[in-house]
């Protein structure tokens, strides 16, 4: 029985993350928020460290820290008219550096490698629970704001002039992104999660006629990537997270030869 749980939990986690990340990633790609998502994935680290130090759930601290990083970058970019990419990457490096510094400063015993690159084989029910909470957050966002997100993606200025709460929508997007990233941390780590957010979205994005259809096709591709990567990693005795990251790049290679 224990042996079955040992296999099943990581596989269940791989499959859930394989669906959740591409669905969220479809929103991020179509809203042109991938850079912000990459920033959030690095900015969760200081919150994780502080949460562990003060005895809170690391996921909660990670989400708050990720949102703060995103807000800081947005504030800096808006108030100073600085180059968006440069600001985001600088804040990303700052939050990552702070997270790494906090671990020795607070005397924490954290497995930094597992945080950054994931460790599917050690996941437990708590990790599954976090993914399910993140699934609910994504379902809430899509269930209540789907059309507004479509409007915002295709015509941001038009959405603003139609009176849609653009800043509120982007904040909600950042919060749900942080929740997804933190929940996927145990599977692929905060560094590799960006691959699973983006790669499954791209193959079919230019064929489908709706955001909903794009999400469904991305979920199927993500499911195959994540599940396949996990099942391949076991006999090869390789860490599943990095293998899934490599599989994401391999997935894109055939697209390079496709005519535009």
């Amino acid at each position: 029985m224990d042996e079955i749980v040992f296999w099943l939990l990581p596989l269940l986690m791989a499959l859930l993350v394989g669906i959740l990340c591409p669905v969220m990633g479809t929103l991020l790609v179509t809203q042109r928020r991938v850079l912000q998502a990459n920033l959030i994935s690095h900015a969760v680290l200081p919150g994780l460290a502080l949460s562990v130090a003060f005895g809170f759930d690391p996921a909660l601290g990670g989400v708050i820290s990720g949102i703060l990083g995103s807000l800081l970058a947005e504030r800096l970019q808006r108030s100073s008219k600085l180059n968006e990419e440069a600001v985001i990457n600088t804040v990303l490096a700052g939050f990552l550096g702070l997270g790494v510094l906090l671990i020795p400063l607070l005397g924490l015993r954290l497995d930094l490698e597992a945080l950054l690159f994931g460790d599917l084989l050690t996941v437990g029910w708590l990790d599954i629970g976090r993914v399910l909470v993140a699934c609910l957050a994504v379902a809430w966002l899509l269930g209540t704001r789907y059309r507004e997100l479509v409007y915002l993606g295709v015509d941001p200025e038009g959405a603003a002039s139609a009176g849609l709460p653009v800043r509120g929508l982007r904040l909600a997007l950042s919060a749900v992104t942080a929740a997804v990233i933190v929940s996927a941390m145990a599977a692929v780590g905060v560094i590799l999660v960006i691959g699973l957010l983006c790669a499954p979205v791209l193959p079919g994005l230019h064929r489908v006629k709706s955001l909903r259809a794009a999400m469904i096709q991305a979920a199927f591709v993500g499911l195959a990537l994540s599940g396949g990567g996990f099942l391949l990693a076991l006999p090869l005795n390789l860490p599943p997270g990095p293998l899934i990251g490599v599989a994401c790049v391999v997935l894109l290679c055939p697209l390079a030869g496709r005519s535009t």
Binding site: R32, V150, G158, S210, L211
Partner: protein, 223 residues
């Protein structure tokens, strides 16, 4: 009205009114303040001094009565969306409905047969007409079009101009910006030339005469 960004004056002493059922061209070079003026008229941007009224009400209280069709570069044409779904987004502007429902708007702009196509599968001119159909679904009788004919081929421009003329004849008020001017200016009821201030305002022939040195008849103009 006046519009200022910091020390930079973008619009100075601009005063104008638009009558219902007219097709007006807003002409000026790049950076002349056309897009700023459209944003002010839509109520997106508050003027530094002065006010904008729509049927006697301050624009801030009735923004849904004015539809703004943005420049091509503001739209993500590769977004996964069908033409009919794009047009449907117009119904999110305000609580009431526009002059047309989705099907009627698509019919009016001649895209009913392409309703299920992806937006990026259309030609440039068809894309502009799809955006115009979205504006028709909005509860607005006043349409502001920001350079709708930029980067589309001449037949498409002519088609769009004809469509705009039909909408004006049906009672819509259209203000169409362009940085280009030419023979097609004669299709408009009125031409307003801006370069930070209003340089000329009147029927096309009159504006041509008053700005003879600036107008190059060889250039095509649509909107």
């Amino acid at each position: 009205m006046n519009v200022q960004y910091g020390d930079s004056v973008v619009l100075e002493n601009v005063s104008l009114s638009l009558q219902s059922g007219t097709l007006t061209a807003l002409v000026g070079a790049n950076g002349a303040g056309k897009s700023t003026l459209l944003r002010v008229l839509k109520g997106q941007l508050r003027p530094s001094s002065g006010s904008v009224y729509c049927d006697g009400d301050l624009i801030e209280t009735c923004r849904e009565r004015v539809a703004l069709m943005p420049q091509r570069s503001r739209i993500d044409w590769s977004f996964p969306i069908s033409v009919s779904d794009l047009v449907d987004l117009g119904s999110m502007n305000g609580r009431s409905f526009g002059c047309c429902d989705r099907e009627a708007a698509l019919q009016r702009v001649g895209l009913a047969d392409l309703a299920n196509r992806r937006l990026d599968a259309l030609s440039g001119g068809q894309q502009q007409r799809a955006l115009l159909a979205r504006s028709l679904v909005q509860p607005s009788r006043m349409l502001l079009l920001d350079e709708p004919c930029a980067a589309i081929d001449p037949p498409s421009r002519d088609q769009l101009l004809l469509l705009m003329r039909q909408l004006a004849d049906a009672g819509h008020t259209l203000l169409v910006s362009s940085h280009d001017w030419g023979e097609a200016l004669d299709s408009y009821d009125r031409v307003i030339v801006v370069d930070r201030r209003v340089l000329a305002d009147g029927p096309p022939a009159e504006v041509r005469r008053s700005l003879k040195g600036l107008v190059n008849p060889g250039n095509h103009h649509c909107g």
